[in-house]
Symmetry: C2
Subunit: 413 residues, 2 copies
């Protein structure tokens, strides 16, 4: 009740301002085998043609297309078979006028040939082959460079290297790639009630669980560096924040609400930092703080676990994307579902309502899971996703069709 | 043209039979900090209550609710403030009749108290506080066990441990979890034309790029073990497949089409294995082969890169999910978009058409990228996703609204 912010800023507005102050990290070169999930720090220009040679697209006979002119079943052209090429063969064989080379899919097209007659349009007989259909130049051939041409820009800076980018880069015989350094994120938990995982839970103590969730959420994009738990003490927290300044981003957990022990804003100011935003129009997640200390960004996440998670998804991930040089927005699976209960929400604030999905008579239904209380951790694991109620909507009625942002990668729908 | 299969099986049908032969791997215990992305091999039963104690949900005063009966602004109840509790404090303080303890959000509720009067309904004056509104028992208190009760099953076998599961498990002070062992996937590339990344590309040689794509695609779920390139030689490939038999799954790349050098089916049979399916009604990806050698599954992926990728997504990932014990189906981001060109497809076969997404006048448009040729690797990186044309649909007209399976995690739409 005392957590009252004078002004709540919409997330997009806060982000668009905040991101302007942030830049991608420096770059480094890594082996392609280590580049999974990394972000290209420069355009990739192909050093070779792909395929690197004219290649048979079908099993058949490599020929000079001009030799097949007029060929038909009733009037076949007879060519002399002067050799055979399988993929990987390195023979110097050539196709001259009146000749053919037996060829398998994937083999390079021999000198002199400009087309392939597929097996089904051929009749072999000893060392001769009858061609029963004419082929134009280039027929059934994957031409050198038809996939990628040498010198072509194939991938652009900011691309995340997924399986398909791996496929392409390896095909180009690119062994090293220049990627942005993974940003180092200093994580600081605050709260005298926190103990580390595995400690005995004394009276009034709880496990510092936000740390694990956060590390798990960001480690695709960043290198989490956990600095520890700062008790509710200005000196202790201040020292930790200072230690975090040599990373690329500081994330504090808790201590951002408006109250006597909410130290993060105080410390940001005492270190000469600037608080750009404090109080976002999302719920849970309202007490999120976006600051800069010198040039180092500091994000103050709320201490309430669900609020911390929502703010991490909506604010921290886009910030990390910027620091990582990603050109793009994280895509979540989304489904349409029918609400089986009413969702209330306060206008002017965007609500994240956890819902469980299930199928009923073929219809996808969404059941809100305990809509109140941002401290209810189990609501996140019971649910499958969020119904996001926009600022200008006052809840949804039961039966309404809504979009659900599914936050599980694996789910039976 | 020679790659003709007698019968094409729909993927779902092939999978539902094949998966019946497969079982999750054995389980192992890992530290929670190492459990990211792993799959629970048993239900998790909470060892504690969460929160582990009655906890103040607001800043205010811990009181006996009965003391506040009838309190109002005009008729306040005056209580003696006997102490102060902040989160993490471990004092033995008690609240007796007529007493109150100043309390901060997150602190444990002291003995004797059963409710919290929020600050805004109180007026402090020295060591006394006036309560101006009555509170019922339990008011403004997060009750012990209100999130999770000790003994409650909080997560079930087969759940993938994401950030939210991490959050919950850490909150329960669970330090070790039993998860399924990551399946070991033996990867064998076949083809005499293949060379390893970084080799000089001799005439007719190409880089074994499928390996990198495959490793990247599966490494969230599995441990890739690359066995090398087998030339188109029965002995060499046979030896490699035998070496792969001590893993949980063998994946061969190429050599599954119907043709003279398509060795994988031959070798499966020569090792006493059984080919359950050969030829799926997907395109690209048709020559996919599903086999068992003794109890070890072998998936033969097509050699054509795009075909290998489609088959890996549609067949390999579900198989890995089964071996990993995942209870669920991989969810991809999907968007509705308008086709700006016609898509042709052959009935009876499910087509995967690569499309590039873009926004035009606020509408999401999908442009098919080079729909022919499963060898065109750059089509995958140029596109953002697949339009999947079902078996019973004969293509889509330009202007049609279609579902796009987005295969990028990061994309600006």
């Amino acid at each position: 009740m005392t957590r009252i912010f004078k002004r709540l800023t919409p997330v997009e507005q806060a982000l668009s301002t905040y991101l302007e102050y942030l830049h991608p990290t420096s770059s480094e070169e890594v082996d392609l085998g280590e580049a999974r999930g990394r972000v290209l720090a420069e355009d990739v220009i192909s050093p070779i043609d792909v395929p690197p040679f004219h290649r048979a697209a079908f099993d058949g006979y490599a020929v000079r297309s001009s030799d097949t002119f007029g060929a038909s079943a009733s009037n076949p052209v007879v060519l002399k078979v002067v050799g055979r090429l399988r993929p990987g063969d390195e023979s110097e064989i050539e196709v001259n006028e009146g000749e053919a080379v037996e060829i398998a899919t994937g083999a390079y097209l021999p000198e002199g040939a400009d087309a392939v007659v597929p097996l089904e349009f051929s009749r072999r007989s000893g060392d001769h082959v009858e061609v029963i259909r004419q082929v134009p130049p280039g027929a059934n051939v994957d031409r050198k460079g038809s996939d990628v041409m040498r010198g072509q820009t194939v991938l652009t800076e900011g691309t995340v290297i997924g399986p398909f980018e791996m496929l392409l880069l390896a095909s180009l015989n690119v062994t090293r790639v220049r990627v942005f350094r993974k940003p180092v994120v200093s994580i600081i938990s605050t709260g005298s009630e926190l103990v580390e995982l595995g400690s005995e839970l004394g009276r009034g103590k709880i496990v510092n669980s936000n740390r694990y969730a956060l590390e798990s959420l960001i480690s695709d994009l960043a290198v989490p560096r956990y600095l520890g738990i700062a008790r509710d003490d200005e000196g202790e927290l201040g020292e930790m924040v200072k230690r975090g300044l040599d990373g690329d981003l500081i994330v504090t957990i808790a201590g951002t609400s408006v109250g006597e022990r909410d130290l993060v804003p105080t410390i940001v100011r005492s270190l000469g930092g600037e608080i750009l935003f404090h109080g976002l129009s999302i719920m849970p997640g309202k007490p999120t703080l976006l600051a800069l200390i010198d040039e180092t960004p500091l994000i103050g996440l709320p201490g309430s676990p669900v609020a911390a998670m929502v703010a991490a998804i909506e604010v921290l991930l886009p910030v990390l994307a910027r620091l990582s040089g990603v050109n793009g927005v994280l895509q979540w699976p989304r489904v349409r579902a029918r609400l089986d209960r009413r969702i209330a929400s306060r206008p002017g604030v965007r609500h994240y309502v956890r819902v469980k999905l299930r199928r009923e008579n073929g219809l996808l239904m969404a059941t809100p899971v305990r809509v109140s209380g941002s401290g209810i951790i189990s609501s996140l694991t019971q649910a499958d996703g969020f119904v996001i109620v926009p600022e200008d909507v006052e809840g949804y009625e039961a039966g309404a069709e809504v979009d659900v942002m599914v936050y599980r990668r694996w789910l039976r729908l």
